[in-house]
Point group: D2
Chain length 482, copies 4
């Protein structure tokens, strides 16, 4: 079958009838018509349409060797640097369509599934409770049916002390509480599945940590409508449907949900591994997950940064402040961030190397460096937008105001340099929705924590850096008499 289009995606999601709770009520009826999901589902559908669009199809798909059907390129397993660069161009097309604002665009999760499959052999070597064949099977199914996914791996934030052990009687963090002939039984919760409930499948695993409980050492994927699986949503950040008033949240609000496992049975053929701490840790560190996933994420973040840069410059032109040195410095700060990210991404591709299973992985070091940079610069860029916008970020009359009797006043008093008041207000509402609305600030928090705790990222970069050569040089210099 291969790639689907937007309609197929919507139909599939609407038919799943997964258990999704919003504001204390379980959603019944078409998910794609629910105000909290309508916009994002439409936008996601438009991405699926894009890969069917003759202008892009060649860049976004490849032909299945088995069936000859076109398959989404994000499922492709790269074997050359050229393959990596093709993948990146495909990421860019989808990212540009959504201006980098959809964190969980299909290519992200497809890439994750692809990386799991490509590294499944890491689980092979006679390891206990490991089923690499189930990863492969899922990957094949996903690519032939263009399945959509989310994943969930953060444990509830009860107590973040490093010396804390979960001692509650009833599970809080999701764990295996039983196993039987059909599979393993899961009870407990995971936090923050973005787009939870609006995908075909949920990939579930536990981020490795210091003292890992074997009951939490698992990974699997199940359909979103599996019995006992509940998605409890946060408050929606869709401002309202008007693109004028809420240009971003009306299109890109993805929703995050708490995922509750109420004695969920995971069939054996869906289990990748369980009760194996070593496998859990090892798989995360030796698989190509970080390489391929970060390759996609940075591509999206670069596109998003281009969007911010364009927005910043348009604000500057609209209120005519190009001449101020501090404005020039602020814009140059965004340029530096953008071009740095681009150079690091490109270096990761140029320094790519084969992994032990013959796949071409982008080099991790430049990617890691970028993941240390972006969580700091993204919030700063949002601040820069606010500092440029100044009082304009608060002077935000609505679409209806412009259409009403007082519209003429607004037209006169809110005009910009070479912009009508409508154009000007739309621009500032965009700046506001990106950086100051509930939607925008959630994006900031999302980018800040995408790769995990920033402090930990810095520690990891330090701990894994190959210092030997540089340190030797100093030692040699110190013992040299020249």
């Amino acid at each position: 079958m291969g790639i689907i289009n937007g309609k197929k995606f919507i139909d599939r999601i609407d038919q799943m009838n997964s258990e999704i709770w919003v504001d204390g009520e379980r959603i019944v009826g078409m998910l794609s018509e629910h105000p909290a999901f309508k916009g994002i589902i439409q936008t996601k559908a438009s991405l699926y349409n894009l890969q069917n669009n003759p202008c892009h199809k060649d860049q976004m798909t490849y032909l299945s060797p088995e069936t000859g059907d076109p398959i989404g390129l994000s499922y492709s397993q790269p074997k050359t640097i050229e393959d990596l660069k093709r993948r990146r161009k495909m990421f860019e097309i989808w990212a540009r369509h959504t201006h980098g604002l959809m964190g969980r665009s299909p290519d992200y999760m497809n890439t994750v599934i692809m990386s799991f499959a490509s590294s499944s052999a890491a689980l092979l070597k006679g390891k206990e409770n490991c089923f690499p064949e189930n990863i492969i099977a899922l990957y094949e199914k996903a690519k032939e049916h263009d399945l959509s996914f989310t994943h969930t791996f953060i444990t509830p934030q009860i107590n973040r002390s490093q010396y804390n052990f979960d001692s509650s009687k009833e599970p809080i963090s999701a764990k295996v509480i039983d196993k039987n002939e059909q599979g393993i039984v899961i009870k407990g919760a995971r936090l923050l599945a973005t787009q939870g409930g609006i995908t075909d499948e949920v990939l579930v695993y536990t981020a490795p940590k210091k003292f890992m409980d074997p009951d939490e050492a698992f990974a699997f994927s199940i359909p979103s409508n599996t019995k006992g699986l509940k998605f409890i949503c946060r408050e929606t950040f869709v401002g309202e449907e008007s693109h004028f008033n809420h240009p971003l949240s009306s299109r890109y609000e993805e929703m995050d949900s708490i995922v509750v496992f109420d004695n969920v049975l995971v069939p054996w053929d869906r289990v990748f591994f369980y009760d194996n701490v070593e496998a859990a840790v090892d798989f995360m560190f030796h698989s190509s997950f970080h390489h391929f996933a970060t390759h996609q994420v940075l591509t999206r973040q670069i596109v998003k940064t281009e969007f911010i840069l364009g927005l910043a410059e348009l604000l500057v032109e609209t209120i005519n402040v190009q001449e101020y040195q501090h404005i020039q410095e602020k814009l140059s700060e965004i340029i530096v961030g953008l071009e740095t990210m681009k150079a690091l991404l490109e270096k990761s591709e140029n320094d790519a190397a084969f992994d032990e299973w013959g796949y071409m992985r982008p080099s991790l070091l430049p990617l890691q460096v970028a993941t240390n940079i972006y969580p700091k610069i993204y919030p700063r860029f949002c601040e820069i937008i606010q500092l440029i916008g100044a009082s304009g970020m608060v002077t935000l009359p609505s679409e209806k105001a412009f259409e009403s009797e007082i519209g003429a006043d607004l037209e006169q008093y809110l005009q910009g340099v070479n912009k009508t008041a409508v154009e000007r207000v739309k621009l500032f509402r965009l700046a506001w929705d990106l950086t100051m609305s509930s939607f925008g600030t959630r994006q900031t928090q999302y980018e800040r924590y995408f790769f995990g705790d920033p402090i930990q990222l810095a520690s990891n970069l330090y701990k894994h850096y190959p210092f030997a050569e540089q340190v030797n040089k100093i030692n040699n210099f110190l013992s040299s008499s020249e």
Copy 2:
């Protein structure tokens, strides 16, 4: 008559029937019942009640020498340092009641009116088109009737180039377009009257600038329901009425409005001055406006910072992260900011001095220094809250969710260290509403720009600093042979 209570305030506002536009519709009926205003009017009413409360009345009022009635202490004209300290304690009581979150609490504007009156003599000396007696008369009326005010002085942000001159045919920035026997006629707009429409009066003037048009060189105060005066509101940032879901915006969202003057007649007895650029500039720089207003503002900002510090620490305790050095550093950063602000405020009082009209002004330099600090630290403190809260800032189920069938799941999975899930979620919703909701980010922008463009604030601090003594010391040192 003297001080009013909350009911009186609400009645008066409801009866004014000022022309206020929200989302394209003019408000009809009780303003105090409109969803966008209900919360803030209730909160403001509670402040008026507080000054009638026997526990606080002594600290919040003084007796009118003329009538013997209790008058709001914010109207008092300080003549001793002790008077200043009493005024500050009164500011604190109101600020604590609203946690520093109401920018335009009555004491702010009362203080502004008091400062205008105390400096009215600056306009006396035979200056053209100056009517200091009208300031005095307004001040007397305001204090005897406990009138509420807003002010508006920012010109529309059409073109911020320093070489730009307004050349539009129709006025954009509000100006005098005519004068007649009854008064002067104003046409054009002013930006961003906070609480515009929910006060008895609007004080209007123009912030001095480089190339000031005489038509803009005016100051006056008129009732909010003056004919031709329109308040066009931005989108409301009241999330909803639930204190659980939106603990701050449901209480403290003040609304900002564009103020349109549609050929508004300002009666002669309300005009302070007009068509006098020198007076406009001079009055702003030599009056006690900056001294007294900043004295109130910093007091409120200190209370707000205490609120942030308490919130930060409670978050830290709730997820048990006290042990991390970076957390300790972040909290210490807030402590340093808070204690610095307190020390500067106190110094401004201790260094207070008489002005030429016999009033005791707080010293400007420490106040100025604080106004250079706060616009930088407030946004940083909001960022610190977000960095402590991490994923908890996004895991935000609603009140109804807790009351529904899935409430039990939430209770189990969202509990904190020594907190129930309800308590924990309420806390994080508060952190979110303060720093990430549309209400919260508007507060950030408000504090950032309260005293004007931060770049300009730094320039002003430099330009007016008395360097001579320090520079002489260097010169002496350089020419010393010792």
Copy 3:
């Protein structure tokens, strides 16, 4: 006897013949004529002269109740806030004389001795191995003879891991290795006695730490020429004697030394306590040491900051760059730092309170806040000087060059706005000596670490802050239904 003058100080130091090593050689002959010490000893002598100067004597001394002799005011034990303010004015006079550049001016150590004496009762309550009477005796002697002191308390930086225990056979960090009838015997080293060797006495103790060895839990003071006591100096940072070329190091280079205890016998009447970990910890935390010492240090740092501000402004005027916004911002940054320090110091005095022994201590919190600020702003201010100076910080011909045949070229090509080349170069050499010479960078490191590890300072501020009230307010707000 009471206060001494400069000559007396020099004579005393010259006669001590303490064991001081510079560049591998033990100093023989007059210390006051050694190139590494000449400048600082002269400068220190000028401070002693200042307290005999009729213009300042009243502000710098008080009369001994016992002898009627004038005593240095730094020895006075404050009992009122007014006493504190008098002490501060005295600190200022000395600090201004040296522009805040002498870290160990006599008032610093006199204040330390005074604080030890004022708190000696903390050791009274029947504690083992504690001799508070020896502290009192030393204090009496010091004030009657105007003794000069240094102190040393940092342990060698062998291994800074928090899990490290000194396991070397031979002592590295100084410890008690024996005791006998005459006293205790010390072997090992302490780091970084500033002015080590050029004072009458050395005060020795151990900064409290996590796992304190009882052998290190001591405090005492001994004459610098005690047998077995050696001061091993670092390289001198005196550039040369020319005030033109090296205006600061030729006057203020204080020297730091490693203090070696080679089986030094400390007589019983000089021991304050030993072999008592509890006393060591307790005395440091409950004595008034931090209060009074920090009060002096901040006063000096404020004077130093005034010097920096004057220097920065004079550079700005000399190359005529006042008009640049980024220059204005940089200067305003120094102003903000200076005024903040002043406000905090003043608040510490205004909030002073009696300790349990009846002495008036400045409030610790504002002092602590300032000690968290200064180590960050001082290096930044040095950077600002460099950023203003730009190429001028490198274009530094010498005094002799001006006096030579090519002097005329220099006069023509290095002139400034309203400055001759000589004046201009002297100014830039001053800026260089303050921020870029070995003398200057050592000052930076000195201010950065004066109060200890900056990370630890932040942790301490956090750990001892009284959060309860602020946290309660949040809890109350969250449970309020209003």
Copy 4:
């Protein structure tokens, strides 16, 4: 002839007998034996030897098409990306030999001369007073004789106001004051020729500026011993000859000098252009000068950053502080800076393109971005070294101290984890010499201003950035109804 070796270089420089003034005295005799120049000349000689070393000769030279002699590769005119990468490897070899600490290594100036020659056609098109053939001739001579160069282009820092015009009667900034049959006559000064006097030639031109005087619109190159040419040195920053005590300044102190033109006659065949403001501006902006020079500079700065990283890590290991999160963060900051610079440099090569004369230029944008980054991170990295070193940066006994009677004490008390005291002190002296000695701080200022005023760099990056595409995307988004 082609490449020279170290001996040849020294002989040539010693024989020139250029007019160099140090501390008021003109140098007579062998320059290579003068204490201020001995170290740097030896080091430079070792670089020339390196290109004759069989291990490196292939990487560092190419064969002259005319003579078949080996020519320094820095003179090669790149025509492919591969050529650029070869050039970069050659830069690295020399930079590694000096740890990036020699700013004016021969390859830098050779590259400048090469870029001038490659772009000389920019002056061809019938422009007045332009002599591109002289550039070519000089280039040919330089490469065949391996000439060494410095350049000088900064005007004296008399008055940096943007509205200042040099109105002095006698020239201050060097200008053409006459022309005659032999050539043009120059009078006045230029600032800061690094290595001025120890090169065969001096390249002189004027950095383009807003209001350029035609008399200053020139470029030429002349031998360092040209009549009337004087180099007036700043104070030397060679600490002393001991590599132990001053490991860096004893080897790498380059000296900066003021260059005085005392009616210097520049022969016509050495003039590139004069009295042509348009040519002066145009040549700087359209030639490949910035491209090729920055390509070399960044390569050196990357090598220097590797040196800093190695040093930082070795300090960390020596005092055993790897476990601290703030240390890990500081080291990761250096890693991020280093890897970012590497990625940008590589991108500039991969994005290289032909210029209009057929040479392959590295892409300017990534280079520009790096030049905006390095002046900020280099000083920060020096600060990090100081923050890691803490008290160890001041505890610096000398080589002689170790060799003396008290050497045993030092050995005991200054040992490190797995380091003897000698090793440990040598390491800290290195850290000190790099970041805190007069040599080190001059390096900081040098890197900070290498590419000019950092504020201006940011403005330039902004002003030349191609925003159109990004801005259009925003406009399209705003007008989209999807």
